[in-house]
């Protein structure tokens, strides 16, 4: 797959801090690509540089074979779904969707504006709501109008700035599934900015994990989760138990009262809390100091066991064990 969007050595310096530091990324055509990182890591700045609301201090932005970093936003064939949706409050649903279509006549003659609007409304399942004002819509409907307004212009890349964060948690999971469906149906490249690792893992074809203005790792969800290339990536995506320099995911960490004799790595621990979550029992343990090892920097670990399995209570003496093939290690 060829890259439709490329950042080449992009840096952005604001008055007081460096938001992006020599970032290079290639987004494949048709991909659902996520920028994942904590708030303030520079992911939104990257999106704004691509949209044209900011200009890079250095570096280049290429879209579909053209360099675009010097172009104003209205000359770039990318569209944005804003975090707040930014629907025009004085226009109804139809007016919002037509906004981008009504800028002169395109080269190939008059477009069927009404037809385009009808089709995109069907795609986002808002048919029949053309005459509603934004204030009369629910949060989920507003988000779909924001999507429709951008998608109707057939952008090379659709930029989504935390589009699910304004929705209530119950709705969020449902909309997440719809978003993925929509992307598959319309085939437009999505560049999705989020701080929610679960969102990124469940939606993306590729994830770029960003921390303090630099790209820590790019890969498929499985790659970044199972083979994190830095301690930051390991910690940011899901929980990680640290045993000296080895990281082990909670689901690969096992717990038992007896010391296992299967040749696995073992650490003794004391249960500090057991929380029943329905589908799993979530157990927090305090680690003892391993024989001969230095004091670990992290003294707690998390284990998940089946809800109908062995019962553990605070204060129980236990052993944690794992297979060394499940360890992740980073060079110092």
């Amino acid at each position: 797959m060829s890259a439709i969007l490329e950042l080449r050595g992009v840096s952005k310096q604001f008055a007081k801090h460096r938001a992006l530091n020599d970032v290079s990324l290639a987004v494949p055509r048709g991909a659902f690509f996520s920028l994942l990182g904590p708030s303030g890591c520079g992911k939104t700045t990257a999106l704004r540089l691509i949209a044209g609301f900011e200009t890079p201090t250095s570096g280049e932005v290429w879209l579909n074979g053209t360099r675009i970093d010097h172009l104003p936003p209205y000359r770039r064939n990318v569209n944005t779904v804003f975090q707040s949706y930014a629907l025009f409050p004085h226009l109804d649903v139809r007016g919002n969707i037509e906004f981008g279509l009504r800028r002169g006549l395109p080269k190939n003659g008059a477009r069927d504006v009404a037809g385009l609007v009808r089709r995109v409304l069907e795609q986002v399942r808002l048919a029949g709501k053309e005459s509603r004002m934004p204030s009369e819509l629910s949060g989920g409907e507003r988000q779909r109008v924001a999507l429709a307004r951008a998608l109707v212009l057939a952008p090379d890349v659709l930029l989504l700035d935390e589009p699910l964060s304004a929705l209530d948690p119950l709705l969020r999971k449902q909309v997440r599934a719809e978003l993925k469906d929509l992307q598959r149906r319309v085939g437009v490249t999505f560049l999705f900015v989020t701080h929610d690792q679960e969102e990124a893992l469940s939606l993306s074809d590729s994830i770029a994990v960003i921390n303090r203005g630099t790209v820590e790792q790019v890969g498929t969800p499985q790659e970044v989760y199972c083979r994190p290339r830095s301690r930051f990536v390991a910690d940011f995506l899901g929980a990680m138990n640290w045993f000296d320099q080895a990281g082990v995911r909670p689901e690969a960490t096992h717990i038992s009262r007896q010391r296992p004799e299967n040749g696995a790595c073992v650490r003794s621990a004391v249960v500090s809390r057991a929380i029943f979550l329905g589908s799993v029992m979530h157990i927090e343990v305090a680690l003892g100091v391993a024989d001969g090892a230095q004091e670990d920097e992290s003294h707690t670990a998390i284990v998940q066991v089946a809800p109908n399995g062995e019962c553990f209570q605070a204060g129980d003496q236990v052993h944690l064990w794992w297979n060394s093939s499940d360890e992740v290690r980073f060079p110092q």
């Binding site: 044209g52 936003p73 209205y74 951008a150």
Partner: protein, 287 residues
């Protein structure tokens, strides 16, 4: 029992609160309501022989307002107030937009907008006379520079009145426009650009429609006082430019026709009220 007591407390609290409003209310009744009632009463009485008013009650003063002689003054007053209002909005909108996007210097620019209020409007209007008259600063400089040989007739005409009104009431347009523009969500402008709107197109299709409440408020705040202006037209318009305000003044001074002057005042008041109510009806929150 406790519910009853707390209800009494709420009632006595609201009584205490209404005491806070009392001084202003007394002042308004004494200086606004009572004089207005007197003006309304005068407008339905007969003109006294040496000024003042006498019985009997009559509606004749209002019938005289239909006279074409006064009709021309009405038209001229509306025209001058209308042009001044349009100019105030046309000049005030870009300025308000500039201030709303000025970041940390907003407050500095806003205080510059209201700075003229620190001196008397009368003195500032005299200053315009000093600038505009035949022997004034502008004509002297232009003549000395050889640009013109005859002084330009800049004073004592409609243009001078409009200039004075626009100058005087520009802040009344800038402030409500600024209040509206400043509250607009910045991401709406980004969304417009993102959807392909050039800056000019975004201004026409997003900024101006969304600042309609501010434009309406500015229009009323400028139009109403301009319609009743007296000082500006008297000083800058000379004897040729008679407006409603000057007509009222004439009735109470030279013409000694108090009832007719009162009737014109009531009419002006009624026009202002209708405009304000119309703005209220359209959901105005700035007035």
């Amino acid at each position: 029992m406790s519910v009853f007591r707390s209800a009494t407390r709420v009632r006595s609290m609201s009584r205490i609160r209404s005491i806070f409003a009392a001084p202003a209310a007394v002042l308004m009744i004494a200086t606004l309501i009572i004089p207005l009632v007197i003006v309304a009463a005068y407008s339905t009485l007969t003109r006294g022989a040496y000024g003042g008013v006498e019985l009997p009650w009559t509606l004749e003063n209002y019938q005289r307002l239909i006279d074409p002689l006064y009709g021309a003054i009405f038209v001229r007053s509306f025209w001058i107030a209308g042009v001044s209002t349009l100019l105030c909005i046309a000049l005030g909108f870009p300025l308000a937009l500039f201030i709303a996007r000025a970041g940390s210097r907003k407050n500095l620019y806003l205080s510059l907008v209201v700075l003229p209020f620190w001196t008397s409007f009368l003195i500032r209007t005299y200053a315009w006379m000093f600038l505009l008259r035949d022997t004034g600063l502008i004509n002297s400089v232009l003549q000395a520079a050889g640009v013109i040989h005859q002084p330009l007739p800049m004073l004592y005409n409609d243009g001078a009145v409009i200039l004075g009104l626009v100058y005087g009431y520009l802040p009344f347009a800038v402030l409500p426009l600024y209040a509206t523009l400043e509250r607009l969500d910045k991401s709406l402008f980004e969304a417009a650009a993102d959807l392909g709107a050039t800056p000019g197109s975004a201004l026409l299709r997003v900024t101006i429609p969304l600042s309609a409440p501010g434009i309406r408020a500015a229009a009323i705040l400028v139009f109403v006082p301009c319609l009743g202006t007296y000082l500006t037209s008297d000083l800058l318009g000379g004897s040729k430019t008679i407006l409603l305000g000057n007509l009222v003044q004439n009735q109470f001074t030279t013409a000694r026709d108090w009832p007719f002057g009162a009737a014109i005042s009531i009419l002006l008041l009624a026009i202002a009220m209708v405009l304000l109510l119309a703005a209220r009806r359209s959901g105005e929150e700035l007035l």
